[in-house]
């Protein structure tokens, strides 16, 4: 699971063009949206692309994303459950 989380952090950085960040800058349980990393609904769309391209998981309704994308922990848990 921790390998998945490390990989996820790299993928998040790549997909969202957070080029100045390294995986060590992102804590597993830190909020990604709102106050945390400051991501918003546009960035949530990128997460949908990330899940589809890297894990073959399709989210058809963008509004479902809020729960799933809360943190690296919740994202990893969702992937484990749905892959």
């Amino acid at each position: 699971m921790s390998d998945l989380k490390e990989t996820l952090k790299e993928q998040i950085i790549e997909q969202l063009n957070l080029e100045d960040l390294t995986p060590s800058d992102i804590k597993n349980d830190a909020p990604l949206f709102g106050d945390g990393l400051g991501l918003d609904s546009i960035d949530a769309l990128e997460f949908i692309v990330l899940l589809e391209q890297n894990y073959d998981i399709k989210i058809s309704d963008p509004s479902e994303g809020k729960e799933i994308f809360q943190s690296v922990d919740s994202l990893a848990a969702y992937i484990e459950k749905n892959k």
Partner: protein, 195 residues
């Protein structure tokens, strides 16, 4: 027209009001290093594109030396220009759908040069006038004309900028002027730019 402060970021280094700052602009990570050195807490910085990051940092530098708290939240006009529009981000966005499999929305929203004025406004809660021009080179006379237009329409201050990121060139020149007694000549402005 009184110039209150200016910052310049280029291959020559990082300058505030004509004085070179101790942080180098040599590594690829310079934006992050400057962000950390300035002690700013603004996570949204990380998802900005290069243009917005530079404008953001350029103004954070200025605000360390100069306060504009006396201005109402819509008295500051943002007058910006560059040569290459949003070139770097345009290329990255095109790459996202030509090479990487699908168009990236978080890139697409930055494929406009004026987004940086939006980022500055959001950060500082400014509701004033904004405009972005595409010019062949930094033209001090043009900026002075524009500043005079906005002063005559009731603006009390202007934050002006030449911010460009294209083909390996990164450049950010910001200057803050207030509608107060004082002279700012074309030559003086050009000298600040040439630091």
């Amino acid at each position: 027209m009184k110039i209150l402060a200016c910052s310049k970021i280029s291959d020559q280094g990082i300058f505030l009001n004509g004085i070179q700052q101790s942080i180098e602009k040599t590594t690829n990570n310079w934006k992050k290093e400057l962000y950390i050195k300035l002690g700013v807490e603004y996570p949204k910085f990380y998802k900005m594109d290069a243009l917005a990051k530079m404008a953001f940092l350029g103004f954070e530098l200025i605000s360390n030396s100069t306060s504009i708290d006396h201005l109402a939240d819509d008295e500051l006009s943002l007058l910006f220009a560059n040569k290459h529009s949003s070139y770097d981000t345009d290329q990255k966005y095109v790459n996202s759908y030509m090479e990487k499999g699908s168009p990236g929305p978080s890139l697409f929203v930055y494929t406009l040069p004026n987004i940086l004025t939006g980022e500055l406004s959001i950060r500082n809660k400014w509701y004033g006038e904004n405009i972005f021009f595409i010019q062949e080179k930094f033209d001090p006379e043009f900026f002075i004309d524009q500043i005079n237009f906005y002063f005559s329409k009731g603006s009390n201050a202007c934050l002006c900028g030449w911010v460009d990121s294209a083909k390996g060139i990164e450049e950010c020149f910001l200057f803050l002027v207030e509608n107060k007694a004082g002279e700012l000549s074309i030559e003086e402005l050009n000298n600040y730019y040439k630091q």
